[in-house]
Amino acid sequence: MKVLVPVKRVVDYNVKVKAKSDETGVDLANAKMSLNPFCEIAIEEAVRLKEAGKAEEVIAVSIGSDASQEQLRTSLALGADKAILVKSEFDVEPLGVAKILKEVVNKENPDLIILGKQAIDDDSNQTGQMLASLLGVAQGTFASEVNVADGSVEVTREIDGGLQTVNLNLPAIITTDLRLNEPRYASLPNIMKAKKKPLEIITTDDLGIDASPRLTTLKVSNPPEREAGVKVESVDELVDKLKNEAKVIS
């Protein structure tokens, strides 16, 4: 079985992001960039399938500028076998990403495609579903457990209020939720080895895809700040304030 894992370069989750003062975008100057945390979980799941003898090859793919090679090397260090960068000089929206990935899928013919459920920059939560839809295949989104069988995969999904289990025909799409696994750290020897693994670079033009954006960002602003209130000295004072000042309990 072949597993394809699309990954995204995003601002590191520890960076506190603010809007630029002219509100034209997000101020990312000198910000640390990382592999999107949900994508890291996706790579980990694919590598575990390989280690369990259920998958033979894990391919990481990313769409972005040359800088995204860094996150592809990280993916290779975590255990992916080869990587593909689809170069784009502008930010591609989820629909465009899904169209590009569809072409990559048609070329590589993976049995399973594992993506993060969302990227922590635009928080769209769309790409996996859109790719599944364009391919006409099944999807197991927000996965917390994945069991691959012959010709199908059973996915337990995190839904509002609990868990849902579905059975999907292969090929299928899986998007990862937080509790699917705990990703490993790349070891130094594996980081060194990753430098020698194949990384192919193609362009959106090579694929013949029009991935031009449909949305224009008019402005990016900081949300209204909430001000700190008061400290209370005791539980009695807290109950009194909630009853008589805020009037939120009776």
Binding site: I120, G136, R179, G229
Partner: protein, 309 residues
């Protein structure tokens, strides 16, 4: 403007999130249709017909829709959606699961999790875990949108007389099947629509200690939530998580217990009307946004609070 709203339900009852989406649709236009897709879901269609602003209820009643499989529902929405200017669903796990499939089939972008409507093609949505708000304008002829339910009031739900029409065509992709669902049974209100929410964080130390929150929740009629740290530590299940990667809540009263206030968590609750923080670390960032802060050991404060309510 003609708007299609996707109803959220369990084949028996309409979920309140649908009313928030209808109120967003009311801002966009006056011609509002609602799709009820399910199996044996006529009772739901009848309650949707009572929403005064709804013109037509479209009922797709078939086994293929019983468990809300995204493959079939997405196809159905795309097949019905091409005549509408806007297609709206709640940004719930169902909405997030199905709607992008429909958008891709219609070859349009999706605008996820909108928090405000500027005009018919311009919307505000939180990005970077709510650290920034983006205003985006769509150039597509059909706008496919998921709605942040806490950002919109509920529409009225009584007195309407919308017509009910059935959708005969069946969309069944036949690539997925439902096995089981484990939904926690609880007498408490649902997290996203509760008036009062009490949440525990890493400071709770383990899952058993969440029982300290239960007594208080029972007295206040509150829902119980948790921070991502508490979920990651395995104290409680993920469906209790409040935060950017969990549920977004905006109750009248939010009580954060043993929660430091990571930006991830704040993104999920900072629109609450009144915020109370109980934490023994007086430097915890949660105090910077709390209306009332109590610096105390939660293991002493919680039993006392329960006894005094």
């Amino acid at each position: 403007m003609s708007i299609l709203v996707i109803a959220e339900h369990d084949n028996q009852e309409l979920k309140s999130s649908t009313l928030n989406v209808v109120s967003a649709a009311e801002i966009l236009g006056s011609e509002i249709d609602v799709l009820v897709a399910g199996a044996d879901c006529m009772a739901v269609a009848e309650s949707v017909a009572c929403i005064p602003s709804v013109s037509r209820v479209l009922v797709a009643d078939n086994e293929a829709y019983q468990n809300y499989l995204a493959e079939n529902i997405g196809l159905l929405i795309a097949n019905l959606g091409s005549n509408y200017s806007h297609i709206l669903a709640a940004a719930t796990s169902n909405g997030k699961n199905c709607l992008p499939r429909a958008a891709a089939l219609l070859d349009v972008a999706q605008i996820s999790d909108i928090s405000a409507i500027v005009d018919e093609d311009t919307f505000e949505r939180p990005i970077y875990a709510g650290n920034c708000i983006a205003t985006v304008k769509s150039s597509d002829t059909i706008k496919v949108i998921t709605v942040r339910t806490t950002s919109f009031d509920s529409s009225a739900n009584q007195g309407g007389t919308a017509s009910i029409e059935s959708v005969s065509e069946i969309s069944d992709l036949g690539v997925s099947s439902f096995i089981k669902e484990e939904v926690a049974e609880s007498d408490r209100p649902e997290l996203t629509s509760a008036d009062i929410v009490i949440s525990g964080g890493r400071g709770m130390q383990n899952g058993e200690n969440f029982s300290l929150l239960e007594g208080i929740a029972d007295k206040l009629g509150a829902a119980i939530g948790a921070s991502r740290a508490a979920v990651d530590s395995g104290f409680v299940p993920n469906d209790m998580q409040v935060g950017q990667t969990g549920k977004i809540v905006a109750p009248n009263l939010y009580i954060a217990v043993g929660i430091s206030g990571a930006i991830q968590h704040l993104a999920g609750m900072k629109d609450s009307k009144v915020i109370v923080a109980i934490n023994k670390d007086e430097e915890a960032p949660i105090f910077q946004i709390a209306d009332y802060g109590l610096v105390a050991d939660l293991f002493e404060a919680l039993p006392e609070l329960e006894s005094k309510l």
